[in-house]
Amino acid sequence: MTPRQTPASAGLLSAERRGRAAANEGQGVGAIGANGVNGANGASGPVGAVGRLLRSHRPGEEPLRVLSASGQLGYGIVGASLERGLARQPHFIGCDMGSIDPGPYYLGSGEMAPPEDMVRRDLALVLGAARRLNIPLLIGSAGTAGARPHLEATLELVREVAQAQGLRMRLALIESDVDPGILTRALAEGRLHPLDDGDGPLPFPSAADIEACTHRVAQCGTETFIRALTPEVDVVLAGRACDTAIFAALPEMLGYDPGLALHMAKIVECTSLCCDPGGRDAILAELWPDHFVLESMNPALRATPASVAAHALYEQADPWFVEEPGGTLDLRSARYEAEGERRTRVAGARFTPRPQPTLKIEGACHVGARAVLLAGIADPVMQQELPRALEQVEAKVRSLVALAPGQRWALHPHAYGQGAITPRPPGGAGGTGAPCELGLVLEFIASDMALARTVAAVLKQNRRQHGYPGRLSTAGNLAFPFTPSELVAGEAYGFCLYHRLDGEDPAHIFRLRIENIGLAPVPVPANREARP
């Protein structure tokens, strides 16, 4: 690989940005014993993997090698690809662990989406690697949704892994939970805004809706990671975080262009998904002052200019502008060029900071208990009559099941073949008319589980025997796959908040704390809370 940047270009890096790293370095002053690495650089205070990187890396002299190990920590990191990445001597490792994608259940309930033993396995791989190489490890959106229970559960697994491997580390934790009072005040002052021009399916919340959320989080951005990345730190474990912040913060602290750093971060947070074919293997980005180069750590996956450019469209409503807490990333002038068969060089994205940071807020609330009834329908007349028959049977069940004060239930039919997934095209799928059979999922949401089961069971019996015009199959209407036929499907949650919050200082929202594993505590810097 040919360096495309002369060291002289490093002079373009802003003195102010270099200054951000220097300011952070001052914070550990006066602390006790360094953790033994590279502590003799003239500065006092313990030096962790972060301090070691900030002191030793000179942009332009060599690329900053950024290894993205996982876009969904806990679903199985491919070990061979990770090892190939480690052999390239990355300067730091980043992992994304969360998303809003799996739905409101995880934010609402406080549970983690991936299986705990898989999270333990993946954490063991990246923690072991980062400590072995003595490089920073940054993990964002801990435990899927990044609220307090997710962060604490992930921290507990980190402790277990550290104990099992005999690892010592200093962790910076970022808590992303937002106090409801901050949000109700913002609501009253007009500082809470929809993210979709108010044209979407999420109603604008009331103060009661905000209070009703079981968890409320904000996505922390690059500036919050920068605050957490003090020199004594080895590992950052963040609650809900922008995927980009995991990978853009250290480059920005080192003086790299924020547009370039964020564009790189935006691509690598999904690991090798930007490749042809796409994959989940670790990806390496080599960042220079004026471009970066992407390379999958799976030799079978190629990062091509077309595959990388196409990735900018992925799960992004607007292909040109990416909104971050601190400003807007503009991809219109991004350029993608092949560097060999399976590497792509990227340059040209621009970042425009906004005067006041904005934060994306997420909240989920309990909406009821869920029961499910599964059935199939083969009778053609029954299929045609289904919407009306369901209405009639639901009305009958409402007359049969008495509700106590405060109790309520709703039925949501999922009639496969009749528009359960997409709006039903006129004339049936492909113009072929009705399907030859139909699957039916009836979703009951009730104020409590006993009621959900009751209405599902009563509806089942009535639905089986319901008479409808043209009925030939007078012995029964539905084919049930299971007994019991009504399945308890757990508690139900819904998103309540997915909004933009203006006028709050991220430093007041995101709380930082230090967790020492196998290391003596250091005095608490002014911008952190002491751990109780």
């Binding site: 409101p104 979709d196 399916p201 196409a310 992925y314 292909p319 999922h414 997409t422 709006p423 998103f495």
Partner: protein, 111 residues
């Protein structure tokens, strides 16, 4: 094939000219559909096709025309269509948590 030829050729289903037609949530309240074409002719044909203009797409999804945003990306031969979801992802009654099957109404568009 010039753009004019493309427009006057016999219509073929989108699935024949596109190499990727995919849909995905863009956050829990929005849906985005990406269509990538095999070649510049297919892309030109799609750009000119009324069936892929915002009003026609909105009609297929039961939305108002101004609710659909369309982006043309000639550099990568792609068209992007972004729109609100009918229900928030994972809400009771939602049939497609990740929005991964919402490309289907466009497969029948003839270009």
């Amino acid at each position: 094939m010039s753009k004019q030829d493309a427009v006057t050729s016999l219509p073929v289903p989108l699935a024949r000219l596109a190499k990727v037609v995919r849909s995905k949530n863009a956050g829990p309240t929005q849906l985005t559909v990406d269509i990538f074409f095999h070649d510049a002719d297919g892309y030109a044909r799609a750009v000119a096709c009324a069936g892929l203009q915002a009003p026609a797409v909105a009609a297929r999804y039961g939305l108002r025309p101004q609710q659909v945003r369309r982006f043309e990306l000639p550099g990568i031969l792609a068209i992007k269509l972004s729109m609100p979801r009918r229900r928030c992802a994972g809400d009771p009654g939602d049939g497609d948590l990740y929005g991964a099957q919402q490309h289907v109404p466009l497969l029948e568009v003839r270009l």
